[in-house]
């Protein structure tokens, strides 16, 4: 397999780059589109991260230090909070893991010359950017969207949020959603239809599997959100009454529809991370993935069960007790396939010959910290226990462990793992390791104390808190400062890599890196696999 691909790579004539506008704005090339996605994600990370640092600054001490202007400032806090949640979820993690790495490496890993629908790929990108622009605008028109990322009516209705801000938010998500649906269709067709000869589904690298499952979740979940958003839009502007109790509507309907999307959404975030971690763990242990089929079908199981647990976000809205009992049981079930993944990673490393390069450090950190976040999810899954935890910082700690730590770790892991392939330049290993340790220490100081604040009863979404919570909040803010420095260091490494990185080899990671992307030169040429490699008779690409 190596030979076929290598031999071809040498006489690759595909490097006729179009002109600047044509290349970056009218692109039909999965690699260029992936690259733009990555930079969109980084930009949004700076904005969304900046917002979170400002929140932590305000929360560092009890009392109001910066938001001293009364009600408008309280609204401003809620706007920051909302925009932070939206940005991080829709415009940082999804674009990087799915749009960025997915675009770059799904075609490379299955030996396809590009995505199935290259133009549609580009409109996914630009609709996302349009959505991002609308979201940023929403923070500045009128008094902004102060509803939290869950946008519950009646608070988000036109009575309590008059002005155009919420409408901007709604249309922003409409566009981002359309972007994701089109992207999902593209990935599914690419994976089903364009694999190199002989690469059966059961030989696909796990990252490709993860994107496949994720794409199905996107395809099924996002239209429901689109429907709900449409109802909210017509409620606000055209006099319908979906969520208006005064006219027979039901605010809780929104919560059902939102979480029917929202829970699969959290797996949309974490599944590509799972896939990526599988690649990295296998590469740096110099071993094939343990229990490959179990790993693949565990993701399928997580995806399926993920659609029937949504109401665990609604334990306190007054659902009847049998319903809550069902959702408790169903939610607990997800721990089983997730456990299969965790233990299979451990078994992959077991007996391996592990090199702790930066990507592997991040993957190692991912596994441990995801388990930390996962087990607190198990606490929350119990409707009875959720009575004390719902809407406290315990929940904030839970979801930052699985998202702000685990998913972001996976993004960094992927970036260090693949930057050589993407840019042709290799990062500086020492700086990379320093950056890992700063982030590792920073995020734990940032989010671990939030468990205590939550146990002690501190509600989320408040700009000021009773004095008793001061201690843990201060520690948490110190952690935020460390992650801020770590983020800056990342951007320095990024700059240094592009400006002065050493030339990346075709395969910088050695014998463990077996997937197809390591059989094309670094940086990957504009067009790859003009000649598809024949994979028949080969082992699963791990």
């Amino acid at each position: 397999m190596a030979n076929a691909a290598d031999a071809h790579a040498h006489d690759d004539h595909g490097d006729h780059y179009p002109g600047f506008f044509s290349r970056w704005f009218c692109s039909t090339n999965h690699k260029d589109i992936g690259t733009v996605y990555m930079f969109v994600s980084m930009f949004a990370a700076l904005v969304g991260g900046g917002m979170s640092w400002f929140m932590r600054l305000e929360l560092a001490e009890p009392g109001l230090q910066y938001l001293t202007g009364g009600a408008p400032d309280m609204q401003f806090y809620n706007v920051l909070l909302t925009a932070h949640g939206f940005l991080m979820v829709f415009f940082v993690v999804m674009p990087a893991l799915i749009g960025g790495f997915g675009n770059w490496f799904v075609p490379l890993m299955i030996g396809a010359p590009d995505m199935a629908f290259p133009r549609m790929n580009n409109i996914s990108l630009w609709l996302l950017i349009a959505g991002l622009a609308l979201l940023l605008i929403s923070a500045f028109v009128g008094s902004g969207v102060g509803t939290g990322w869950t946008v519950y009516p009646p608070l988000s209705s036109s009575i309590y949020h008059p002005g155009a801000a919420v409408d901007f938010g709604i249309l922003s998500l409409h566009l981002a959603g359309a972007s994701s649906i089109l992207g999902a269709i593209n990935f599914i067709v690419t994976i089903f239809n364009m694999r190199a000869p002989g690469m059966t589904l059961h030989k696909m690298p796990l990252f490709v599997w993860s994107i496949l499952v994720t794409a199905f979740l996107l395809l099924l979940a996002l239209p429901v959100l689109a429907g709900a958003l449409t109802m909210l839009l017509t409620d606000r502007n055209f006099g319908t009454a979906f969520f208006d109790p005064a006219a027979g509507g039901d605010p809780v309907l929104w919560q059902h529809l939102f979480w029917f999307f929202g829970h699969p959404e959290v797996y949309i975030i974490i599944l590509p991370a799972f896939g990526l971690i599988s690649q990295i763990v296998s590469t740096f242990s110099k071993k094939p993935v343990f229990g490959y089929l179990g790993m693949a079908y565990a993701m399928v199981a997580i995806g399926v069960v993920g659609f029937v647990v949504w109401a665990h976000h609604m334990y306190t809205v007054g659902l009847d007790v049998d319903t809550r009992a069902y959702f408790t049981a169903a939610t607990l079930v997800i721990a089983v396939p997730t456990g299969v993944k965790i233990f299979s990673w451990l078994a992959t490393m077991w007996g391996g010959s592990i090199e702790f390069k930066t990507p592997m450090l991040y993957a190692f950190g991912f596994i441990f910290l995801f388990v930390m976040g996962g087990v607190t999810g198990v606490t929350l899954a119990n409707s009875s226990a959720d009575l004390v935890f719902h809407d406290t910082y315990f929940v904030v700690a839970h979801f930052h462990y699985v998202m702000a730590i685990a998913a972001i770790f996976a993004m960094f892991a992927g970036w260090y793992y693949w930057i050589g392939k993407m840019s042709g330049k290799q990062y500086n290993e020492t700086l990379g390791k320093i950056q890992f340790w700063m982030f590792f220490v920073g995020v734990n100081i940032l989010f671990f104390p939030q468990h205590f604040a939550g146990l002690a009863g501190m509600p989320r979404r408040i700009p000021d808190y009773p004095d008793a919570y001061a201690g843990w909040n201060y520690v948490s803010s110190v952690g935020a400062l460390i992650t801020a420095v770590g983020t800056m260091l990342f951007f320095w490494i990024l700059y240094r890599t592009y400006a002065a990185g050493t030339k990346a080899e075709q395969n910088p990671w050695g014998e463990g890196a077996t997937t197809l992307e390591w059989h094309v030169p670094s940086p990957a040429p504009f067009h790859t696999f003009e000649d598809q490699p024949d994979m028949s008779g080969k082992q699963p690409a791990e």
Binding site: H13, F25, S27, N122, T240, E530
Partner: protein, 265 residues
């Protein structure tokens, strides 16, 4: 583009349409918000027209590629069909949300706040076996005519296919007309509470899909006249036909749930 290519897939040249469409979608979103907050609707319509123009140019490119004899190989067509199917799946989930809203309001066992009677007090639902039933028959018949056209294409008879498609388009227009008539006769307005909300949005979005499907089929009609199909290769038509069947099936659900089960008591 590149010289050697041994795979059957279609490497598309850079295209301005995705970018331009997004720009117009963005502009249209802003214009729509301004319209909703009291400003004129003119810019919104303007950007909508621009967006439609972009789509037309985009699909024009696709048709040109489909006709050039080498881009749309068997594999590519297979992918296109799969893509259309997945798109329809996502549309199904979109309607899923509206059905959910409907049942949430209509069945007390699902929601505590559901109306105790359905239709709610004060609402006179439209008579089931009147226009709605006629519309059901129209759509079912159109399903037959479009299948007739499909068979004709498979047999290489584009003349008869054109007739089939034309009939389908006419039935589609008839449906839309009946629907408009029905709306104009309804005793409840758009803003009359939850019944109206679910009724008008569910049937309205369906109606919108009927219109889109009708346009799609109209395009196919002219392509049929120009002999664009061969018995082996007629993805454009297949997509339109599937879309039409999907619209048909959604209607059957709407008819059963809203007009019949939820019909006048």
């Amino acid at each position: 583009m590149s010289a050697v290519k041994s795979h059957p897939y279609h490497i598309v040249n850079p295209s301005p349409w995705p970018f331009l469409s997004s720009v117009f979608a963005f502009a249209m979103a802003i214009a729509a918000i301004m319209y909703m907050h009291g400003s004129t609707y003119v810019p919104m319509v303007g950007f909508l027209i621009a967006l439609i123009a972009c789509s037309i140019l985009w699909w024009r490119d696709v048709i040109i590629e489909a006709r050039n004899g080498h881009d749309h190989t068997d594999e590519v067509r297979h992918g296109l069909r799969m893509g259309m199917l997945l798109f329809i799946v996502s549309e199904v989930m979109f309607f899923f949300a509206f059905f959910w809203a409907y049942f949430n309001a209509a069945i007390p066992a699902i929601s505590f706040v559901a109306s105790p009677t359905w239709p709610p007090e004060g609402i006179v639902a439209l008579p089931t076996w009147d226009l709605p039933f006629l519309n059901t028959l129209i759509l079912l018949t159109s399903g037959v005519t479009v299948t007739y056209a499909h068979h004709a294409i498979r047999l290489g008879d584009n003349k008869r296919a054109a007739t089939g498609i034309l009939l389908t388009v006419i039935l589609g227009l008839l449906f839309t007309a009946c629907q408009a008539l029905e709306y104009s006769h309804a005793t409840f307005g758009f803003k009359d509470g939850i019944y109206s909300s679910t009724f008008y949005l569910a049937t309205g979005f369906h109606g919108f899909h009927v219109i889109v499907g009708t346009i799609f089929l109209t395009v196919c009609y002219f392509r049929t006249l120009k002999d664009h199909w061969t018995p082996e290769s007629h993805v454009g038509f297949e997509a339109a036909a599937w879309y039409w069947h999907f619209v048909d099936v959604v209607w059957l659900f709407l008819f059963t749930a809203i007009y019949w089960w939820g019909g006048p008591i």
